[in-house]
Symmetry: C2
Subunit: 663 residues, 2 copies
């Protein structure tokens, strides 16, 4: 990461502006608008660096918000030096623009410079904001909570006699969330003028135009109808931003909303929203630029920055560089979402009553092909999970078979009561929650769904199941469509993962029953899903070299258990372990362990439950698995420990009562 | 229930109009408006009957909606005779007006006449609508889902080629729910003109004025800003209703909303909203009229009805009567919500940072006194649980100690993700969910919170606890305020219940540990909460007469368990039972059973879990407990069965390995 004079941008190097150059810019005491414009440009280059280095992040929405954030932190926020509890408050409700915010904070010395290299790394900067990071004032990542939080802050401040302005940045797709509208009215009734909401109106949500997902209609009129003071501004025109912030300063009797018209991906020509061709998806919402995109994009930004530095009389802009780690090679992996797409299409061919509903995750949920093939049976609900689920409920009531999709973290929680309400009608809806579980570790705990089994597991008439291979996806989808009258929840790991075993060719889904994927006599391990079972399989292989023979069982059912099967598959084994890609509390392991306590197996059995036991870490997949001790090493160590702590495993004979006793 | 000529209304009798009189009215072929006005009046008398007889129900909102419902079912709904799947669709999103709807359906012969006597009885008419009842098209009771459901119905109908009008009745307080606004936009984008929403704008939500809770602002302007066609009408003027329905018929390109100005409690002078004095609460939202109120109210309605029948040339209106069952005498009971009020006030005296947040249940959540004593620290959020929780999150972030209140059913589910988000910030908020569990059985499963332990149990940093006595309420509130840095959820049974034991005078809350409330040697039973433990206590008394001695343990912790304590309290006992006022799956019993499986007690133990295993029944408390086998008889039988099925209980010696084995 040596400093260097930059002549040629190469595909392998990454470039960023050191804090010293921001300091040099600010020391020049330029006109405030000029300074902020250049500041934002440098922060944009660093944001590109950060995301490229992490191979993951949200470029488009970071770029659209940079002028706003830069101006706020340079000129609007008071008492920044007094620390995050005493200064004016800013936070982003959309949250996926965290890289932009991090770089503004780093440039101002409010966050350590070294953190620029640690986006989405463990103990680094989380993919979505977390209050443990300095100057991060709210955990966000799930949408629509921002104004509510700001209201709480303002009311507590009034009670405690604290004077703070509170700035909240929201997305525009985010406005589809009901909580946004729910939060508007009382802010007016309470006269919370401390709050200024800036809507980063870049017109693209996830991968496509907001107007094509769920058009917002007349946004200004709506906000005014709710009684808010409304301004509209070009969100990249800093002089205009300055004027609008002065204008809202004068409003002292009501909360204020500034609709900032912005461009998603602003600043790099080919990343800008309007460069998207008709019928294409926007490519820079999440993920990272490839080598060529990075080279072109950074070259554009560097050229502009150098030009501005010269114009300011600051001479050459010093840029530092780092070598980009190559992307991990892709192995032969099980891609469950891809398999789901195919399974869904196949079922839809013969089931004209199937309707697929999506909540603004058409690509991530594997629905692009379905939408193309059955456009009249595809309903895009926008970021509105409660609405989606109750719509599905209404559809089911009229004879359709709705299949509702979102990320598991949102689907299990946001419309939690709506799912219960639907199931209480004894109608049939299928829910598909992708991005389930601890991995990928990059987006952070708002997206790491490790409590959905608990949140949905006790809904009556709702069967929860998770496949471990593409083959099992097909079997479970077939079961959910054709094999049950109950509603169901398909829990899908989105991350591709190599799985070292396969299920029988004639595998079919039988409720409450699993499949032995590796035989053994000394202990038995129950688990589900691709990476957990794959890691467990590797761990059992290692234990085999120590002479311990472990039976590994894929149990895809998360809230159903056939206790007769359980008794049979356990057989004479008395050392039992469960693995949850979920919190241990409320996971599959609780169900299995409780059933074993009820079976009262003789001689005595011992159940050890493993899984997640604390808020998930954000980091690379390896880092996260290692931290939670769910990588191969961690599972191996836990299995070994359980084995060593246990009494000698009972052999096939059942005639050794008490052999499992502990003193 | 003999037919009789009515001269004097007495306090002990209840009066209703038989279907034959509705038939006589309709056979007269009066002018449509005149007919509907009289029809509504008779249905109002029957609604009063139904609620008085059940000693429970929602009078105010039923009365405000009766002209609307009567007109819809008499003149707007097509193909009623073809059955509920083929006719036009009507349902109430607010749902607590179910008694009005039932009486309209009964009067039209669409629902059995005998059901008029069976409101809130098992196998009768549920307190909130359930699709098992004929012509009930949606389960409601939790607010804000109506338009979403209607959209789903309309889209499925379009796909399946069905032509149906869909009428949805909403409340006005209900409009505070975010899902209402979330559902508006796509209805416009999709041009769902099939949908007509009628807002029963009676201006009172629960017990007070909507404008004092969270003023709706310019409702018409808001709805128009969302692109809906909007009409406004006097909701009790049937001629005006007729005109407005003809007007919206002509709108074929967008969904329609009719704001119907109504009067809560319409038709009985002293029950009408405007009769409420300044500073008073509205008395007729839920519950039932007392004897004198019933006598006066029914006399008013009967006099009007007789007058109208004479005017119509129909002669005397025949009225039938029934004897009202006396209200159950009040025993000396533990009133946990009352105790909570006192505990909260006491903590608030010494904790100026405490702020109480309420979601339109100030009376039911025991907050009336707090509001009076600390008005500046009381925040009424309206029916907006997501907003409330994220506000609490923001308050905690600024140094306050927020305590957020609602019914357990709503609090655990509606803001489920917001609670997780708050806890992920490691801040401290206390949640108080009243009306927890299976009882009261009258409101039905939308309000019977029996999955909240599961829905919240795995939220990291959130401690769930439920007290069984007033004394324990005080101890747990003290713990939650002063004894932990974690967030917590206080699960409160609202129903008063006599508890036959008391906790030690020096009782304090220790996380994960319970208290033996009855000693015994043969078996051990774990449970929590007043009625479950009281019923279990009675059952153990009975078992004692059969020579079986059962230890009963109050374990108030729902997702925390001290396993060392568990081992100690179990001691040599090997027959173990858990009791959940919750679904067995995901309840406390799962936690206890799983821990026992991990302890691997020697000799072998057997755990039996009891609790709710199906969607809760609606009925009287006795009926519901009996159905779910959780009354004293049911618990006695289960305990007896478990005892008989088990091997001989092991004595105090641990030297009997295998004694607990089964063949």
């Amino acid at each position: 990461m040596g400093e260097q004079q930059l002549d040629v941008v190469t595909a392998d190097d990454l470039y960023y502006v050191p804090v010293s150059e921001f300091d040099r810019l600010r020391a020049k005491r330029l006109d405030a608008v000029e300074e902020a414009q250049t500041f934002a440009l440098l922060a944009r280059l660093n944001t590109l660096y950060m995301i490229a280095r992490a191979w993951s992040g949200h470029l488009g929405t970071s770029f659209s918000s940079l002028e706003i954030m830069s101006w706020l932190f340079l000129r609007e926020m008071r008492n920044l030096d007094a620390g995050p509890q005493a200064c004016d408050v800013f936070f982003s409700s959309k949250g996926h623009d965290a890289p932009a915010l991090y770089n503004v904070l780093i440039a101002l010395g409010l966050l350590e410079q070294d953190q620029i290299h640690h986006l989405r790394r463990i103990h680094g900067l989380p993919g979505h904001p977390h209050v443990e990071t300095p100057y991060i004032q709210a955990n966000t990542g799930s949408l629509g909570m921002g104004i509510s939080k700001a209201k709480g802050m303002a009311l507590a401040n009034r009670l405690l006699g604290v004077d703070q302005k509170i700035f909240v940045l929201t997305g525009d797709g985010e406005l589809q969330e009901g909580q946004f509208w729910e939060s508007l009215q009382s802010a007016v009734n309470m006269g919370l003028h401390e709050i200024t909401v800036i809507i980063d109106h870049n017109k693209i949500q996830s991968d496509t135009w907001v107007k094509d997902v769920s058009d917002l209609g007349g946004l200004e009129a709506k906000l005014r109808a709710f009684g808010w003071h409304v301004e509209r501004v070009d969100g990249h025109d800093i002089a205009a931003l300055q004027r609008v912030f002065r204008a809202v300063d004068g409003v002292r009797d009501k909360p204020k909303a500034i609709i900032a018209d912005t461009v998603k991906g602003k600043g790099v020509s080919f990343m800008e929203g309007p460069a998207m061709k008709v019928g294409e998806l926007y490519n820079y919402h999440s993920g990272a630029p490839n080598e060529q995109e990075y080279a072109s994009g950074s070259a554009e930004l560097i050229a502009q920055a150098q030009e501005r530095f010269k114009t300011h009389g600051l001479g050459e802009l010093k840029i530092e560089s780092a070598v980009r780690q190559p992307r991990k090679p892709v192995l032969k992996v099980e891609r469950l979402v891809v398999a789901y797409t195919q399974a869904l299409l196949r079922q839809a061919e013969t089931h004209p009553e199937i309707i697929a509903l999506d909540a603004d995750l058409v690509k991530d949920c594997g629905l692009v092909d379905f939408r193309a093939r059955f456009p009249e049976r595809f309903v895009e609900c926008g970021i509105a999970e409660q609405d989606m689920v109750s719509m599905a409920c209404g559809m089911a009531h009229r004879g359709a078979l709705p299949i509702a999709h979102s990320f598991a973290c949102f689907l299990a929680a946001r419309p939690n009561e709506q799912i219960y309400n639907q199931c209480s009608e004894s109608s049939k809806v299928i829910y598909v929650g992708s991005l389930a579980g601890l991995l990928p570790g990059g987006p952070g705990h708002s997206h790491q769904s490790v409590r959905d089994i608990s949140a949905l597991g006790s809904v009556p008439g709702l069967i929860l199941a998770e496949p471990c291979t593409e083959q099992e996806v097909v079997a479970l989808v077939d079961f959910m469509v054709n094999g049950t009258e109950e509603s169901s929840y398909l829990r899908l790991v989105s991350l591709g993962w190599p799985v070292p075993f396969s299920l029988p060719a004639n595998y079919t889904a039988e409720v409450g029953r699993g499949t032995v994927v590796r035989d053994g006599d000394d202990a038995i391990v129950f688990g589900y899903g691709p990476w957990m079972l794959a890691n467990a399989w590797e761990a059992t292989e290692r234990l085999a070299t120590e002479g311990v023979s472990i039976k590994l069982v894929n149990l895809p059912w998360l809230n159903r258990l056939d206790t007769q099967w359980l008794r049979d598959v356990i057989g004479p084994i008395r050392q039992i372990m469960t693995l949850d890609n979920h919190y241990v509390h409320g996971g599959q392991g609780d169900m299995v362990a409780a059933a074993i306590a009820e079976l009262a197996l003789s001689p005595i059995s011992r159940v050890t439950r493993l899984g997640v036991t604390e808020l998930p870490q954000c980091g690379t997949n390896d880092e996260v698995l290692h931290h939670h001790k769910l990588d191969v090493d961690g599972l191996f160590a836990s299995m070994q420990q359980a084995w060593r702590a246990s009494p000698a495993t009972v052999g096939p004979s059942q005639d050794a009562p008490g052999a499992g006793r502990r003193g």
